[in-house]
Symmetry: C2
Subunit: 159 residues, 2 copies
């Protein structure tokens, strides 16, 4: 990474590592997303991303397009300027919460299947651990509601 302060470079790496897992991104895609989040409002050009990441044009192109497709990144243009200026999607935090919401809904569906399976096939086991499983399920439900509330609050903020 060149073209960055020491602090920014380190933060890009730290966010990058996390985003690989949370958002299921390739390392370079996660770094690019991190760069966007730490970027000024007017974004970065393709070439700037090239020099910050010191990756190849092809890789930057591929991963940037992937991020665009996922709506994690967006771009805008300036009149009389062929370049595109890339930045994190204005709603990336809200979108992240929406991802979390889908995730939790899936997890609830799955734990319901597990609870049901053990209830009918492992009756003895269920007597012991069933209560815990139901508590876990309640937890997921309340997380879901919590997320919905925060999404609503976010929707009311003008950007």
């Amino acid at each position: 990474m060149s073209c960055c302060s020491e602090e920014k470079s380190k933060l890009i790496e730290e966010i990058g590592v996390r985003f690989e897992q949370v958002h299921q991104l390739a390392p370079l895609a996660a770094r690019i997303y991190a760069i966007m989040i730490l970027s000024p409002k007017d974004g970065h050009t393709f070439d700037e991303i090239l020099s910050i990441t010191s990756a190849s044009k092809s890789s930057v192109s591929t991963h940037l397009n992937h991020l665009l497709q996922l709506k994690k990144v967006e771009y805008f243009t300036k009149p009389g300027d062929r370049k595109r200026y890339f930045r994190a999607s204005t709603y990336y935090l809200k979108n992240t919460l929406e991802e979390y919401h889908v995730n939790i809904s899936d997890e609830i569906k799955l734990i319901d299947k597990i609870i049901n399976f053990n209830k009918t096939n492992n009756t003895q086991k269920f007597q012991n651990t069933g209560q815990i499983a139901l508590l876990f399920r309640e937890y997921l439900e309340s997380q879901k509601v919590n997320i919905e509330n925060v999404i609503n609050k976010m929707s009311k903020i003008e950007i």
Copy 2:
């Protein structure tokens, strides 16, 4: 997968795919963990796991040991029987919540760094998105408290 009902096999796969991501496990490790969760109280022997997964002894050994080390799986023995009987850790749901708790704490630390960075380096951007970021942070805090409460409730249940 042999030795299982159609329903159980499908559920093992479904849980497996999810656990690869959630718990960062290799496919076979995730399948074994899934099997444990859907197992009767008295667990499964090494050979039973072999025949359910139709994987090699070496792979089962390696991944089972990994799961033991992570405390996701435990085993017990029966007097006069050299075999070990493997099952999901009695506290696996509580342990899962504790994992989530650590994860959220890390995420809070990270978002604080991001908020701070943008506050001082991208002042203009922060004016727009700062409020959203703070809402996101609040959300994380409340998730954390929520998890703590559920862990406490779980601790009070006798198994």
